[in-house]
Amino acid sequence: MLSDLPLFPKQASSMAWQVDALYLFLVALSAVMSLLIAGLLLTFAVRYRAKSRADRSNAPEGNNTLEMIWTLIPLGIVMFIFTWGAGLYFHMARPPEDTMDVLVVGKRWMWKLQHLSGRREINELHVPVGRAVKLTMTSEDVIHSFFVPAFRVKMDVLPGRYSTVWFKPTRPGTYHLFCAEYCGTKHSQMIGSVVVMQPDDFQAWLGGDVSDLTPAQAGERLFNSLGCITCHNPGSGARGPALTGLFGRQVRLAGGSAATADEIYLRQSIEDPRAMQVEGFEPLMPTYRGMISEEGMLQIIEYIKTLGPGPSAGAAPSAAQPARGGGS
């Protein structure tokens, strides 16, 4: 029985071995330190038990050099661990340039995911091996947390905000997906799996179901059906600011402040337009709060992302490579 007992989760992402390396280092350090302390305790306990006749002359009551040593050496060691862990964390926090994006909405108690090609999934995520994947996540209700142990990644998913996590799968297989932030009654059933496939298999899988619109197309459809297009058209004299090439740009707001047009900016502009009044425009736009689902919001944002610079705004862009605005 014990031979089946695993000590490590599977390593299935580029991050996994790096996290495991730090883990193993810390396990070794802990073992050494624990054995050192336990060894000293036992040695002293035996040697200086009341009945022993060990030499007790000149018993020290303190030693400043010793105190310095066992303050500074541990301090040095932990600072070393800190830099190691911090480097790892930066690596996790900064997705590479060329990622495959997936939109994720958590709700009690399921994960709803959509690929940029349009394919939707529930409680399952299919990804190709060897390709960096970035998830943009939000929640419909309470805080959830997206956790794939085999990838060693975890990120909270919050209502009203967008958080991201990225990973690069390295080994095909099926891995656990857990919700790690307690979210109520069926928290332990908010689980699923991540299926890592060979790139060819993945392409076949992705093409297997073409009935769905891509998120950008769905977003465009929403954009038109909600009437956004009537004001936000690229023509001159439009009542609303043009959205072409907007994403990632700096926007000047009425009142003199500036903001970067990122996901949360777009979301707030749709929900509270008059709080985010762009300089040079009249406060005409009504709120669309409550009229767009979380997925719809992600799709509209995805659509606006695709409105790259140039006059061809509105034309169906390539979904796999969303245009990203210049650096913020």
Binding site: A93, R94, T260, D262, S328
Partner: protein
């Protein structure tokens, strides 16, 4: 630390100062000093609070321990405010 009898004229002087500062802060609120408005409003509030603490609450005549404790609590409050606000200020950085 206590038992020091403060002459009433000091109380009245502090009171007058508090009144003047109150008028000043209301006046300043209706002028446009840009971002300085906040600084002025909070600065005046701090001065007023200090006056109350030093004279009405007799800290000026009290022992060192009370000074140490008040500064300790303010430092703790500062920790709470500064570190949390630093998180909010740096949310977008990567």
């Amino acid at each position: 630390m206590s038992g020091h009898v403060v002459p009433p004229r000091i109380y009245f002087a502090v009171f007058a100062a508090l009144m003047i500062l109150t008028a000043l802060t209301v006046w300043a609120a209706f002028q446009d000093f840009g971002p300085l408005n906040t600084v002025i409003a909070l600065g005046i509030a701090c001065v007023k609070a200090t006056l109350v603490v030093l004279y009405f609450m007799h800290v000026r005549y009290g022992g060192r321990l009370v000074w140490v404790m008040i500064s300790g609590a303010l430092i703790w409050l500062g920790i709470l405010l500064v570190i949390t606000l630093a998180d909010y200020a740096s949310r977008g950085w990567l």
